[in-house]
């Protein structure tokens, strides 16, 4: 059989393959463009709001809620968690070192740089993870990612960064871009029997009510964490917030600080670059 005859089916198969998988370069991750589009979406949806006000979540969406929040902020119920965090942060480990030795600038006013991409391990490192790694490096038992100790510690560190603009960096490393994309995919993927994604509530629905609660905008949602929720009667960590969101859509949560959650926090924090840290936040 002449060679040409052989080539024809090959070419056809190749063409077909191309059709089915469009060239991957078509939508290579472009975080800068994503962030711009993200902010433009919210600025057009809520023209009266200044960008930095989005960090106040539901309180930027409703006057009645905002007044209740401002009353609480005069003497916030998270006062005790904040003080506990401050005290824990300064209490030395058994080996005499403290958290200050693990963090740049002794851990003060650095929350806005988390999560960051650790190029040695090729993975995203969140504040909660860094705190537990610090404990581990100093021979201390790890804290649960959803209990009070981690909540108080992260509350104190967030407090020392209040007002500083979120400052998440994506190094020019394909693994960082991949983590960013993985976080974005998680954010937009529908899950659970209710078939919601994070975007279903926090992109399409901010300002609208879910029974008594008003949905917070995704823009700036990370800036207020950790949050003291009246619902929980206590300070809750970012991990606890993500896990609770999952179970509310009837999706089985993953383990705290799984890659998906770390990448999600990386993506979502990057979207809020430039907006001020307002944690620890008080929320319904």
């Amino acid at each position: 059989m002449p060679v040409q005859v052989l080539i024809l089916p090959l070419l056809a198969a190749l063409a077909l393959a191309l059709l089915v998988h469009p060239a991957p370069a078509a939508d290579a991750p472009n975080p800068v463009a994503d962030a711009k589009a993200f902010k433009t979406y919210f600025a057009t949806k809520f023209p009266k709001l200044k960008l930095e006000d989005f960090v106040n979540g539901p309180y930027s969406m409703s006057e009645d809620m905002r007044r209740q929040w401002q009353e609480k902020e005069q003497f916030p119920p998270y006062e005790f968690a904040l003080e506990a965090g401050k005290q824990m942060f300064a209490t030395p480990f058994k080996n005499g070192r403290t958290y200050a030795d693990c963090f740049p600038n002794s851990g003060i006013g650095i929350r806005q740089n988390y999560p960051y991409f650790d190029e040695k391990q090729g993975k995203v490192v969140t504040l909660e993870l860094a705190l537990n790694r610090c404990r581990e490096a100093n021979g201390e038992a790890l804290y649960s990612y959803v209990e009070d100790e981690m909540a108080s510690l992260t509350a104190y560190m967030a407090f020392t960064s209040r007002g500083k603009p979120m400052n998440i960096k994506i190094p020019n490393d394909p693994r960082a871009l991949e983590a960013y994309e993985d976080g974005k995919r998680y954010f937009y993927t529908r899950r659970g029997q209710l078939n919601f994604s994070c975007a279903s509530c926090h992109i399409q629905g901010p300002g609208e009510r879910l029974r008594a609660e008003i949905l917070a905008p995704a823009l700036g949602i990370m800036n207020a964490l950790p949050i003291y929720r009246s619902e929980w009667g206590g300070m809750g960590t970012t991990s606890r917030r993500l896990i609770t969101c999952n179970s509310q859509t009837r999706a089985v949560p993953l383990d705290p600080q799984s890659d998906e959650y770390r990448d999600l926090e990386y993506y979502l924090s990057y979207m809020s670059n430039g907006l001020p840290i307002s944690g620890p936040g008080a929320r319904p």
Partner: protein, 157 residues
């Protein structure tokens, strides 16, 4: 809370932490139980009317001199900011009632000579209910009532 007054909150809170440091442990002889015994009975009453009768032994009349401030929809039934202020004079007591709570009387305050007749506090509400503030002034009772909506938050599930 825009970025510019955020540091204000930080100062307020740090001030709070500072002033707490002045701790006095020396316990003076047990504070005389003032002239008010804890109104156990009033707190047991189910309805507003019974609680008011038990607490004050008389009924109240609505008055626009009693300014009650409460949210239209509570962000969370566990922490509902409610406050009252009044232009009435010779005020001796202020109380708050949540009619749909298991027992209506939530809190009662004695106002002394020289104390401003105005109180702010945070109450729990089981469900949507009328919130009533009662001010005892010159031996008479004046009231203001407002409905506060309360529902379970979140998508449940």
């Amino acid at each position: 809370m825009t970025a510019k007054n955020l540091p204000l909150t930080r100062r307020l809170i740090l001030q709070g932490i500072g002033s707490a440091a002045l701790i006095g442990f020396g316990d003076l002889p047990a504070l005389a139980a003032a002239n008010d015994k804890y109104p156990q009975e009033a707190f047991k009453q189910k309805s507003d009317a019974d609680a008011i009768k038990s607490l004050y032994g008389k009924t109240a009349e609505a008055s626009d001199k009693v300014k009650l401030d409460a949210p239209e929809i509570a962000e969370n039934g566990a922490v509902v900011p409610v406050s009252v202020t009044t232009t009435l004079t010779a005020v001796t007591s202020i109380s708050f009632f949540v009619s749909e709570n298991p027992s209506a009387l939530a809190a009662s305050y004695l106002i002394f000579e020289g104390t401003v007749p105005s109180v702010a506090n945070r109450l729990k509400m089981q469900k949507t209910s009328n919130v009533t503030a009662i001010v005892e002034a010159g031996g008479k009772l004046y009231s203001a009532t407002k409905e506060v909506k309360v529902t379970v938050g979140g998508c449940g599930g």
